[in-house]
Amino acid sequence: MTKVASFEIHYRQYLDAAGTAVAELPAFARDPKALIPLYRAMVLTRRFDAKAVALQRTGRLGTFASSLGQEAVTVGLAAAMRPEDVLLPTYREAGAQLWRGVRMEELLLYWGGDERGSDFQGPRADFPICVPIASQCLHAVGVAYAKKLKREPGVAVCVCGDGATSNGAFYEAINYAGVWRVPALFVVNNNQWAISMPRAAQTAAGTLAQKAIAAGIPGVQVDGNDVIAVRDAVEQGLARARGGEGASVIEALTYRMTDHTTADDASRYRDAEEVSGQWAKDPIARLRQHLAAAGAWSKDQEERLIETISGEIDAAVERYLATPPMPPEAMFDHLYAVLPAAYTEQQIAASRGGDHA
């Protein structure tokens, strides 16, 4: 037997759970002050998340998918991106979307069952939230191909969950991205659960990063609760892609701290102890400790931050709640670029509303 190929998967972490640096920090992280925007964004994400859950519980929002505990993944990846990159998110990437300029009221409109929530005024080329698991991975390949063909700068950054890596669409996407050498990056937000399915029930593979080997592209694992590690790994993946070296996969290890969505009850299938044990790895506390230890963050700053953020969120909620619904006939407005004559009669009928004949 001859050895014809060999592969290794590496894991990256800069801050341990206590916020102590365990490796030399990457350039962007050496000045602690430069990390404050990341901290702020993670706190905003968590506060926004809590508000959304509260709105749902009080009947003012639909089903919502919380990203509690996963803030470092979602903020870290967005922080590494440039405006010309394109984000293709799941429903659990509010942190990345907000960083990139999606407005809070837009996200609320989306979760409130209103299509206008996906008409982002900020990142116009970013994709809307994708619900069918893994299907957006293929869009990323198409976007990346378009960028490459048009000689436009930018990378397609696709985020998906651990469950998504069992889906054929994920694999077809990384395989195409590999062989076409397009500027794409696949971030697997491994929160250890796909609704009630634990990570170990999805695949016999020891890491999700090794899925990349099937596509002949690099795969790497990072501590997804270490925002520095996430941002650093994503920057490197983006640099590769920008340099024409093609796509890669990053597996970010984190943990889903709450129910799958507000419609779920995780106590049916996982132990409370498993969850509470994970708080020790909290990404926000970790960065706060790191900043505080470096003298770059005070109680006072924290209080002011919370206050500002709360104000921003409350204002966004108000704008959301003040948005009247679209008229019923709007359901035909964007069916086609120009509505064919064959549909006019139905549009008129619809304009009378659901209760009418």
Binding site: G62, T63, Y91, Y110, W111, G112, G113, D114, E115, V131, P132, I133, A134, G163, A164, S166, N167, G168, A169, A194, I195, S196, M197, A201, Q202, T203, A263, D264, R268, Y269, P325, M326, P328, A330, M331, F332, L335, Y343, Q346, A349, A350, G353, G354, D355, H356, A357
Partner: protein
């Protein structure tokens, strides 16, 4: 006799099938410890163990294709697709394999499998959780397409589907999963997959429907009764193969017909029924067949989905038009 809901009827049938036939297995995403996102499989893992109540990795094409393999090898898989909006990757296995294996091998291999999926809008859920594309399946030769609309029919039809020697798509109307309770005896009695159900007899007009729209259609029939119109209400239940004779018989009696479904109008299964009525019932029809359906557009997100769904008022209005036609 215990009272139960439609989803309860599903659960009872699954438990019954698992206990009476060791070839039956249940598989799907979150069907194990979680008991299914709607609790259709609640309690099954505990009773029948993880070898027969199988949590599946996140891949609907695989759920379809693996079920084909299981069925051909002698099991009776009952697979859950979490929502109909995620069934599409499995269509390939349904069209190209599940429905053809018997014919392709002249009966040597066969494919007794059931693919269950919650379907329909109106539950205030995110996008893709409100599909009703049953017509796509009703067009596939070799398939059975079954839609229960009461706890009793959920139980009886699902048992029949599981015992059937050929592939069945079993679509469960999410909106009425818990709408009513009914006494359902767990007696193992399957219902026929070859017959429509006449839910209410009438003489002036025939209302034909299935799934969650049975609710609005019965309400419309009530409203019409108050106007002294006697409406016959038919729940098609098994769309494929279609028991057209029952529908035709009713329309020959009443002379008028309204077909109600939640799916979009164009290419919906109501078109097939209306076409057959026009072919074979032309001389009995005293008015054009009316179709009351979802509009020909993408189901709006939930804030406006209600405007998309056929309402009791629209059904009543269509019936009145048919009755007024001369």
């Amino acid at each position: 006799m215990p009272e139960t809901t439609l989803i309860g009827g599903v659960n009872m049938a699954l438990a019954r099938a698992l206990s009476e036939d060791e070839r039956v297995v249940v598989l799907g995403e979150d069907v194990g410890a979680n008991g299914g996102v709607f609790r259709a499989t609640q309690g099954l893992l505990e009773r029948f163990g993880p070898e027969r109540v199988i949590d599946a990795p996140l891949a609907e094409l695989a759920i379809g294709g693996i079920s084909v393999g299981m069925a051909a090898a002698g099991l009776r898989p009952v697979a859950e697709i979490q929502f109909m909006g995620f069934i599409y990757p499995a269509i390939d296995q349904i069209v190209n394999h599940a429905t053809r294996l018997r014919n392709r091998t002249r009966g040597r291999l066969s494919c007794p499998m059931v693919l269950r999926a919650p379907f329909g809008a109106g539950i205030h859920a995110p996008e893709h959780h409100c599909e009703s594309t049953e017509a796509m399946f009703a067009h596939i030769p070799g398939l059975r397409v079954v839609v229960p609309s009461s706890p009793q029919r959920a139980y009886g039809l699902l048992l029949a589907a599981i015992r059937d020697p050929d592939p069945v798509i079993f679509l469960e109307p999410t909106r009425i999963y818990r709408a009513v309770k009914q006494q359902v005896e767990d007696d193992g009695a399957a219902m026929s997959l070859d017959d429509c159900f006449v839910l209410r007899e009438g003489s002036d007009i025939t209302l034909v429907t299935w799934g969650a729209m049975v609710k609005e259609t019965l309400a419309a029939a009530d409203r019409l009764r108050a106007e002294h119109v006697s409406a016959e209400v038919i729940d098609v239940a098994t769309l494929k193969p279609l028991d057209f004779e029952t529908i035709l018989g009713s329309v020959e009696k009443t002379g008028r017909c309204v077909i109600v479904h939640e799916a979009v109008l164009t290419g919906g299964f109501g078109g097939e029924i209306a076409a057959r009525l026009a072919e074979r019932g032309l001389l009995s029809l005293q008015a054009p067949v009316e179709r009351v359906t979802g509009y020909d557009t993408v189901v709006p997100l939930f804030r406006n989905e209600y405007h998309f769904l056929p309402s009791e008022a629209r059904i009543v209005a269509a019936a009145r038009r048919a009755l007024a036609f001369a």
